[in-house]
Amino acid sequence: MTETYAHLSNNAVYSATIVFTLAMIAHVAEWALARQLTAPLAGPLQRALVPARTAGSGVVDGAVTGTSAADAAGSGDAHAAAARDGDDLERSDRFGRIGFGLTVLGFLVLAVGVVFRGIAAQRVPWGNMYEFSITGCLAVCAAYIVMVRKYDTRWLGLLVTGFLVIVLGIAVIVLYRPLTPLVPALHSYWLMIHVSSAAVAGGAYTVGALASVLYLLRRRLERKAVEHPDLPRTGFLWRTPPAEAIDRVAYRVHAFAFPLWTFAVMCGAIWAQYAWGRFWGWDPKEVWAFITWVAYAAYLHARATAGWQGRSAAYVALLGYATFLFNFVGINLFGSGLHSYAGM
């Protein structure tokens, strides 16, 4: 029975990796098709995607009816270009939707993989790095889906699916471990809360970091456009919301993640008290959890400090994410200390 679940879990994780790869390819197509597209005209750019889409499909309708020779002959180059644009826009958008649909599918399949892993092991599915990776990917994916629903952030699709494919790939190829039981120190409700809130916070930090990357790219693009106003404004990046709006989304995700991370660190400390008789012992894992906490506090501060808003704050957020990753990868691989048996 255990074997069956473990086997099903492995298959589900493989399948999810493949589905995310397809989703990523769809998003690559989405970007590629937008390469020649000019930016939507000025206006409240922040909602650019939505109106642009409806406008786009209007043009497509025209293009479809306008395939007759008479029409094509009557209109000039501009018309043909607009029709081509509309066509590409529609196709780009369709690939974006396919990519998102596949991401939701991948999420469901991965959820099966994670849950079955837990059933097979008869415990929470985060006893080693492989399990933490797949659970973490599930959290990243969940955070992204929620954000698409709430803030219409499908423009993060390529970065998110790219991340998921890389991490799941590493998990399946490098980190995979057969089922093992948990050592007694890990049998604790506090630990369950600790790790699950850390995983959700980690998922949000990941999406936040990706949004910050996109913010920096978009900001550079806008700067360049100001310096060289006559450069063509083509490409997918021009179809994302303006830098300021991306920054706002990034802030919201981080603002969600930071209190959760604080809570996770606190639960970890309480668990450590039960397991080892001290709340805080400056074990390497604890040190880096603390560093991550301080780095993200610095990010929130930077956003409120004159001269640090915008680009610098985004870099601080990425720095915070780097410390988070180091805690997970670096310390688990090279670290010693009490937490190390929870690693590989």
Partner: protein, 553 residues
Amino acid sequence: MPHPSDQEVVPAADQPEQATADQAAAGPATGGASTSPHGSAPALRPLEFLRWAWRQLTSMRTALILLFLLAIAAIPGSLIPQDRVDPSAVLLFEQRHPAIAPLFRHIGMFNVYSSTWFSAIYLLLFVSLLGCIIPRLRVYLRSARARPPKAPRNLARLSAYDTWTTDAGVDEEVERARTLLRGQRRRVEVYPSDGGTVVSAEKGYLREAGNLVFHVAVLVVLVGFAVTGLFGFKGSVAVIAGQGFSDTLTQYDDFTPGARFNPDGLTPFSFTVRHFHVTYDTSGAGIGTPLTFDAALSVTDHPGAAPYPYDLQVNHPLQIGGTSVFLVGHGYAPVITVRDGDGHVAYSGPVIFLPQDGSFTSFGVIKAPDAQPAQLGFEGYFFPTARLGPGATPYSAFPAADNPVLSLVGYHGDLGLDSGLPQSVYVLDKSHLTPFKAAAGRPRALLLREGQTVELANGMGSVRFDGLKTWVKLQINDQPGKVIPLVGVLAAIAGLLCSLFIRPRRTWVRVRGEGRRTVVEVAALDRASGGDPGAHVRQVAEALRPAEPKEPQ
């Protein structure tokens, strides 16, 4: 544009009297030379400097830099072994890097989190935090009952802005705006404004309160840890199954009291470890992973009280009064009898062997100072499930005692116990000892199974492996005031949620007549980042605007 809170951070102008007092106190150190007969004017300079320094220290930018410094300063402690986390790793490091270790020792690299420089950073942050909270607290209390402010002259300059005209009357529009904004649980005030009327609304006062609670709570957590550390203690002891422990200083293997700890405050409890039981995973990929630990204790809360049983497990500490007993480790204690050349028992009893790996290959030392004609000493390994590896070297294949074997090397001579220097029971000082040699001249390893005896060469005696016991490592703490940091963290999280999710926002609706038409303007200003005042203005405009706009925007 400077962030609104950036201005609030600057402390409100110091009271002159107070500042003068500060300066007087600091006078000799900073500005003694500049004292003039008339006093005031030149003496202002150090005062100004102090004020400037204080303002620098309590600025947002300094807080940011200090936060960065704190993060960076925490790094070395996770990469270099620390005295308090793993002392044996520190010893190893010092042996491996003799060139750099003394320097590291000198600058506190083995004790980062209590080093001067680390403390300096967080103390500065502490002061900066205080200096930033107190003025803000004052400002906050003053503003708590404030009314929404009047509108800026030119609303159209705000980025979130909308306007339209309507046929409805001015008073009617004002009333509608007021009802709408009230209904959204905002503080609302109506002001006359040049040529019209402004409805001012504000919301989100709890954000600043949450932020202040958060920052105060950070201080509370720090203070809580300090109190716990000052008045508490931390100790550990290894107890062999079948033996007991009572809570007095002499019984601890190591004991770290806080600076204000009072040894009379030890709870007079005692307990016996009746037996200790471990189970291991016996198959699959996790083979050898411990599954359960149970130490069966018989506990007496105070002398004369009736003993009661307690099943001590990992994650289930024993609480007696404020003291907690944790199960943090375990190992094997082979029972060994050493007889000397005269046939007298020179040592007999269980010896604690320290586990070296996951399969519990364990290292231990036996000292028999009373042996005649020469003192005897042994060191070696214990293998709970012994197997022979390549080159006939034994190793342990599994942590349970399925095939226990001892491999000892014997020594005779002077154990060095009379030198007066304190000696670890886990280390054999071999400087005046000679090993018993095998025929080939190499030290002879004595292999013993349970119940076996080996005779030493030259009739110097014998050693016998009588049986096997287990021992548990217990950590015993008292952390008075440990609820303080807990309460602090919970308050911090609550404050943080308010501070991050409540967005103070000011909304203005200006209504004025223009001919026979009425012009309505809506604008909003966020006092925190992350919000979308434009969406709010759109929503207010949607609610107030007549159903069919007379002129397309």
